[in-house]
Symmetry: C2
Subunit: 225 residues, 2 copies
């Protein structure tokens, strides 16, 4: 019986990074690692690593540390990438194609079953073995192919309408690249990738870094006088 206390968002957000580092360790041929060593690599506290992992069970061994391969597989199971997920991409522009072309997704169980677009010039084209279809076939395709996840790489203006169609067709999750928040029923997962938000966060940090540099420079000059 699974423990039913809610895992915090922050912990979940860190899991993929742990997974990534464990994958790297495996590639380096490292078989075991302590929270301390991993802490040094990842620049997080060892305590946090142990605390995070213990939300899901005791994967380590005292005096030994963690077995890299075992932990890697356990995290895959926790994240749910040990199962197969069927995914479609809606919007076959550059961004949609970029996602389709990222090979590793398929390695992790995300099978791209189809791509859709409204642009007639794109319909019929084949990207990485996946045909681009007209948006009319959307609902039928989702049901027939047991699609759970839809990547939404279309402009903001079309997003709400398509999101509603996806929900009605029974999609479980939307990977949303449109620059807006979607409103969906609470049993539909929306994971946002708001690139403009990301660029603004970067902008904030650059700006405050520059401000700080200026301030320090000023301080230095004042001291000289």
């Amino acid at each position: 019986m699974t423990d039913e206390r809610q895992i915090s968002k922050a912990v979940i957000a860190r899991l993929p990074r742990y997974y990534r580092y464990l994958g790297d360790l495996m590639e380096e041929g490292i078989e075991r690692i302590s929270s301390n060593e991993l802490s040094a690599r990842m620049k997080v506290t060892a305590s946090q690593i142990r605390q995070d992992l213990n939300n899901f069970g005791g994967f380590g061994q005292q005096g030994y540390g963690y077995n890299v391969r075992y932990l890697y597989n356990e995290i895959a199971r926790i994240i749910g990438i040990d199962r197969q997920h069927n995914i479609i991409i809606i919007g076959a522009g550059n961004l949609g194609q970029a996602i389709a072309n990222y090979a590793n997704f398929e390695k992790r169980g995300f099978m791209i079953k189809g791509m859709f677009d409204i642009n007639p010039r794109l319909i019929g084209l084949v990207v990485r073995g996946v045909e681009i279809r007209g948006i009319d076939d959307l609902e039928q395709f989702i049901i027939e192919n047991e699609v759970q996840i839809a990547a939404l790489t279309i402009p903001k203006s079309k997003a709400p309408e398509i999101a509603e169609r996806l929900v009605n067709a029974g999609i479980k999750a939307i990977w949303n690249f449109a620059h807006m928040d979607l409103s969906v029923p609470e049993d539909v997962v929306v994971e946002n990738v708001h690139l403009s938000d990301s660029l603004m966060r970067l902008s904030y940090r650059v700006s405050s870094m520059m401000d700080e540099r200026e301030r320090k420079e000023k301080e230095r000059l004042e001291k000289e006088v």
Copy 2:
């Protein structure tokens, strides 16, 4: 004189979303808004909105609320998108081109000055008025064009080498789409967009949603018996 206490990451992460909603309000022709109304739209507490904004100053007025246009401009100033940022894109594949084609970036002061790639078939092509150049010209271009930000849309394997060249050429920030963490001096900003991490977070949430659904179904059946 600016207040020098550190603004928390969580607050900064929320600013672009406030900015987005304020933009929408302006488009709707709404001139003033209270933290309560905004709270209802954004699905965050009014208290958090007021608290967040007050990190940067008192932009509202008691009994009135916030002037939408004024707050919008103030947030733009805080984020630093009232100034011009020169940006280059390294990696002119689908992802790089998707970014180049997103028009709104330029509206917010991010001027795409150049694109770079190693693929000879791409070099010389023009995307949205920007020529794709060979990677050899990188350093000189950065200096001559006062480039502050580089978007890194290249495979993991090339990322560390290019990142180092960028740093040496004096870049201020890297918008990193490569599926790895870069190590750079602390005065260089790195904003990561790890799409695979994002998809894994989605996967976790879908999986636990499905688990929960199963659990409830089971509970229901047990009750019936």
